[in-house]
Every structure is written in C-alpha cells, then in structure tokens.
Symmetry: C4
Subunit: 217 residues, 4 copies
C-alpha cells in the first residue's frame, strides 16, 4: 500500500485534536491501557514533521496540547519538555517507506495472543471476510490479507529495519504485528488509519474466537 503525496496536510492543532480523540476512544476499547501504544500523523512532508503522542502518558486522558511535533530524527521540534514515544523511529520508518499519513499502534488482547500463536508461521492469513473490504484498495471479501509478524526487540533501530524489510517483502500489507507486543497499522490520514486498526482488530478477534470453536486450521 503506497500513498501518493497529496495536498498539504491539515494544520497541526487539528491533527493533534483528532489524534487525541482517537487515543481516548481506543483506550476505552482496551487497546491503549497502561500508557501502552502510540499514535502519529504527518503534519508536513518537506521537511518531515510528525504529530506524535508523548511517552508514558495515560491515553484515556490525552488532550491535544500534549501531542508533540517531531522531525525525521525523532527529535522534538519546538519548546516542549515532554519526550516523544520511544517507538517514534518505527513510526518514521513506516511513514518514509510507504508515504503513509498516519500510523497507529495498539496493544489489544487479541493482537497480543495471535502475534505469538502464529509467530512460527511468520504471519496471520485473514481471508474471506467482508470486513476486509474496508481496507484501502480491497474490493472483495475474497481478498487474502497477510499480517506479517516480526520478533519483538528493544533495539528500536534494528526493529525499524526489520519493519522496513517486512514492508518491502509484503507490499500489500495494511498492518503488521510485533510478537507479544502489538499491532501497527497506517493510512493516508488519521481517519483511514483508525479505520484500518478497527478492521484489523475486529478480524483478529474473529480469527481468535474461531480458533476456540474450530481449532487451528
């Protein structure tokens, strides 16, 4: 999934407000509890500027004033004392690799469990669901979405490289899993990235609960 450079992005404050609102909604669904997860959106391309959630904050209470602006080295731009998320390099890599306009990372129960359960397979295949049609560029439920799984690491630069390699190998992917860690998904803007997260989380739960009823395919 590649994005073409389109019109200049919305103003930072509008993006920050939308990002904070998504954070609070996802927190209520249990996808960003305990300060986990992080969210970003492109504010400018030249030079690259990302709106990024700060490190270690309660996503259930995130307000737009807390959202930071970072450059393409993950340094805070402007007069903020807060620290951007440790996983900023992963967001930046996805933005650069795909031209994505927004990147969202969630920790849900089902993405955590399945990222481990299917790790040996290298990914989770999801196919035959109407819900897949909500993914950008997918026009039929007969689509087969491959959600690659990458081994988790605390070396963020190495992890960014693994993500880069994975995105090169799986050009059609709308998301990827870090093992026992969580889901990364993205879109041309925050609205599309939010839609992709909701769809992938839904499908992972459907796959997980089907496992309980039918056993592994």
């Amino acid at each position: 999934m590649k994005f073409t450079m389109s019109e200049r992005s919305d103003s930072f404050s509008q993006i920050a407000s939308s990002l904070a609102s998504i954070a609070r909604g996802f927190y209520l669904r249990g996808w960003l509890v305990g300060t986990s997860g992080n969210l970003s959106a492109v504010v400018d391309r030249e030079p690259l500027r990302l709106a990024m959630s700060p490190s270690g904050v309660d996503k259930g209470e995130l307000v737009s004033e807390q959202v930071l602006m970072i450059d393409d080295d993950a340094r805070v731009v402007g007069d903020y004392r807060a620290k951007p998320s440790d996983e900023s390099p992963l967001h930046l890599r996805i933005v650069k690799e795909l031209g994505a306009g927004a990147v969202l990372h969630t920790h849900s129960i089902w993405n955590t469990i399945l990222s481990d359960f299917y790790f040996a397979d290298g990914g989770v295949a999801i196919e035959g669901y109407e819900m897949l049609k909500g993914l950008q560029g997918v026009n039929t439920h007969e689509h087969r979405e491959w959600l690659p799984i990458i081994e988790n690491s605390q070396d963020m630069l190495a992890l960014a490289d693994s993500i880069g390699d994975t995105l090169t190998k799986h050009k059609g992917a709308h998301g990827l899993l870090l093992r026992r860690h969580g889901l990364y998904s993205w879109g041309k803007d925050l609205a599309q990235a939010k839609r992709h997260v909701e769809i992938l989380e839904f499908l992972l739960e459907a796959v997980g609960r089907t496992l309980l009823i039918k056993g592994k395919r």
Copy 2:
C-alpha cells in the same frame, strides 16, 4: 414477518437523527467498526424514499446531517454530494419484500463467526430462549427462530435476489446472515429494528458461547 402500510412515516429529520443515534450506540458495542454496516428507514412509501447512511463513514461519529435520502433505485434524492451505502439495493429489497419500515445491518464478532460455522446447515436455529419473545409476533420462548445464511457476494443485485428468494422461503424470519459478512434485521420502524438487532446479536452470542461450553449440538 409482513408489515401493513400504516400512517405516514415521521419527518426525515427526525428519522435521520434517530438513525444516527442508533449508529453511534451500535458502534460503541463494536457492531459497526471500521465504517462497516449500514442503516436505513422508510421516509415515504409513494414514491418510496429511504433515509440511508452514507458510504464509508465512521459510524461512531455519524450525525443526522450526513444521512441521505434515496429513491427506489438507490439514487440520492436532492443536493447531496455523498454516496449512499453500496448495500442500498439490499435494504430496498427487504423494504419492498416485507413492507419493513427500517433495515439495520451489523458486523459483530459473533454474527461473523456463526454465519460461517453454520453455513453448511443453511442457517442457525435459535429456540427455547425467553429473549425470543422480544421479536415481533413471537409470544413464547418455545418459538424456533430460523436465521437463514446466504453466501456472500460482491454482486449487489444478485445478492438482493438471493435475499428476496430467502425471504420468500422463510416468511417468518426476523433477520438473515450473510456468510462471513454480517446480520440484516428489520422492523416496522427504527425502534423495532433496533430491538430485533439487539435480540438477535444477544442470541447469537449466547449460541456461540454455548458452543464453547457444550460443543455443537
């Protein structure tokens, strides 16, 4: 379940507001995530006018101003730039076939799983539950509700025909499942259709979780 033509329907704005409110509530329950699902209600019978949710919008933020009016060919009536849901022909078919006043379509985890699990049986039988009494015309828990399952398709007109055939065969049905896609239910008005969705979703979850405890009957 047939509906008799009753008094003229409520005004469009009232219907649109009620439709949007139901959408937001169902979104919070996880039944309309990722822009999935769609909702409609009859505004006028002669000529036929339906209030219809637009295509590709976030149901968690749907407001009445976004609700469209369509005619019996699924064309937008009036000066709107938005596109009605792709599944409008399915709503129209149900309205015409049954005289229904409202049609609601949800994507829940349990309706998705069971629409596949019971596909080979042609439907899901639900019986013996008190909750069934909330379905229009049902007076006892001893009722047996047959929820037919139809193979999914991207050909909306063919799918509308399958739905038409199914409704002819199963005249008592209060809903139907599209395989790995979702639930359609309906009622004489939005309140009744909402009630039917809540009841069928509840019963599908009860059937699904009972499977986990007891295995398939």
Copy 3:
C-alpha cells in the same frame, strides 16, 4: 433473606429516577438489551405500591417519567396509558414473600447460558469467592450461595407460584434463575438490589469462564 419493614420508602419520583438510572447502566452492560428485563421498587407497603418499569421500552433510554406505579394486583395506579411489565406478578410475589424493597431482573449472556447448563442440577452452587461477601448477611468467602433454577413458563401466575415455592425452600437465596430466561435478584432497596445483581452477574461469569478452562466440576 427476609427484610423487616423499615421506615417509609423514599418518594416515588426519587425512586423512579434511581430505577431509570440503574436501567440505563445495566443496558450499557448488555443486561437489558432489546427491551428485555424489568425493574421495580416498593414505594409504599400499606397499601402496597410498586414503582415498575413499563412493558416493551428501550431500557437504554428509560427516563423516570416512564416509570409506572402499580398496586398489589399489578394494575396501574393513576392516569398512565402505558402497560407495566408482563412479569409484574413475579416482582410482586418476591416483594410479598421476602419483604424485599426492590426487585431487578436481567438477561445477560452468562445467566442465560448457565441457567440452562446447570438446569438438571436444580441450581448453581457458588462458593469460595470473596465477592460473595457483598451479598447481604454474608460475612465470609466460605459462604456457599445456591442460585436455584426454575423452568421457564409463559403462565405468569404459575411462574409466580414456582418462585414462591422456591423462595420457601431456599430461604437464604439472594437471587434465582429462570431457565434460558434470566436472573431475578432483590434487596432491601434499589441500591442493595443493584449490588446483588452486579455480584451475581460477576460470579456467574466467573463460574462460566472457569468451566471453559477447567471443565465442569
């Protein structure tokens, strides 16, 4: 569990407001969906007057103005056009049998499933949980709560008699299950009845999910 006649109950409007607020909260938990369930509270003892939820309304939108007052024959007192819940005779029986000040009836997934799964045993035994201490008169987690299960029926007077017999046999019960129908619980007032419902629903879910992990004891 017997209640002594205490001071005169709160005013009707205060009770109706509290009853409606509990209804909306339980609806959000999924315990009163599709117009299912009903709620009552004693307004006066001599003559008996109950605040009672009306029949067939959406509990997610119940407001105090909709709450009815009924007498000990389940007839509406005063100038209301609405119909009280069909299950009013069951509420009245529990109030008379136990001197309860409030009766709440919920349809949850877990109470529905377990009311069937344990039907042949005549009830569900719940013991060893700290949560039991929240039930009126219980001082230790070593308490064994027996939740009797009664066969469902559409004959409300016969069902009221079954409930009466059950309450006579199981004097310590804080609730009872109707098979594939739901939970009845009660308390000296609405706050206590609400507490009892929350506790019994929690424990039924704990018992149900333990079954999935361990199998039937």
Copy 4:
C-alpha cells in the same frame, strides 16, 4: 519495588478527586462492581495519612467528598461518619512495607479465575510481553514478572502479615493476588498505581485467554 520518600504529597482534595475518578473508570471496566474493591493514596508520611475509599459504596458513583482520611491504625481522621474499607490494614501494610504512594485493589473476572487456577503454583509467571515494560523499573519485554498468590482470609491482620511476608520474599513484585478474591497493585502515586493495575489486568486476561487456546503450559 521500593519507593523513596519524595516531595510532600499533593493536597488531600486533589488526591480524593483523582481517586474517585479512577474508581469510576475501573467500575465501568467491571473491576469494582457490587461495591467490591478499594483504593488508597498517601496524603502525608509523618504522621502517616491515607486517603481511603469508604466501605460498602457504589464505586460507579464515588465522588471525592466520600473519600476518607485514615491514620496508620486505619482510624478515620476528622469528622466523618462513614467507615473506611475493611481492607484498610492491607493497604497500610503495603504502604509501610514498600513506601508506596498509592494502592489499588480490583476484582476482575480474570484475576479471580487465575488466582485460583494458579494457586497451587504459588503465583502466576508472566513473561515475554512488551506490556511488561509499563511496570516501574522494567526495561524489556524479556522481564519475568512473578505475581504471587496468597490464600484468602477474613482475618485482616493475619492477611496483612501474609502480604508482608510475601512482599519480603518477592521484592520485585508489582502486584499480588488474593485467591478467588482479587488483585492488589501499587505505585509511587495514583497515576502509576493505575498504570500497574491496567497492565496486570491486561496481562492476566492475555494469559487466561491463551490458556483457552493452548492449554496450560
């Protein structure tokens, strides 16, 4: 996990308001239903003063005015008629043993089930999850968190001693389970304790649901 005495704690009213807000949020997640659970935070160290939730109140409606202040013998300080939680001695013991600034105790479905399922093992081992990094002092997902399980008792002083012994034995613990009772967790302040509860509840659910898919390791 030891806390150093830092600056004087926030004012009581601010702490009480934050404590009540956490209570209402946890209630909505189903972790404090039926008046279960309790919450505390240090207001002063010399002499020790704790903000403590009152006994037997509905946590979904807790407001800051209801929060009590207690001394190091669990006696209410000041002119309150309410009773502090029966489990105040457990909170005090954890505060004294670890120098914690806040202690939160939840009753969730998953902590209830797993506190019994793993009781014979003496605790639950949780390792390999990124989510662990949200626990104070943990820097990698390769961390192994041991959540000790203590037999439940109604003798609060004996239980406080068991907790003291357990904390001495397991110095790194961020929480502990009481069998079929619930989770205790803590932090340097309410925000950190809230984070720890959310993380441990998430991980217990992940462990519990993995058991369903894979069986016991």
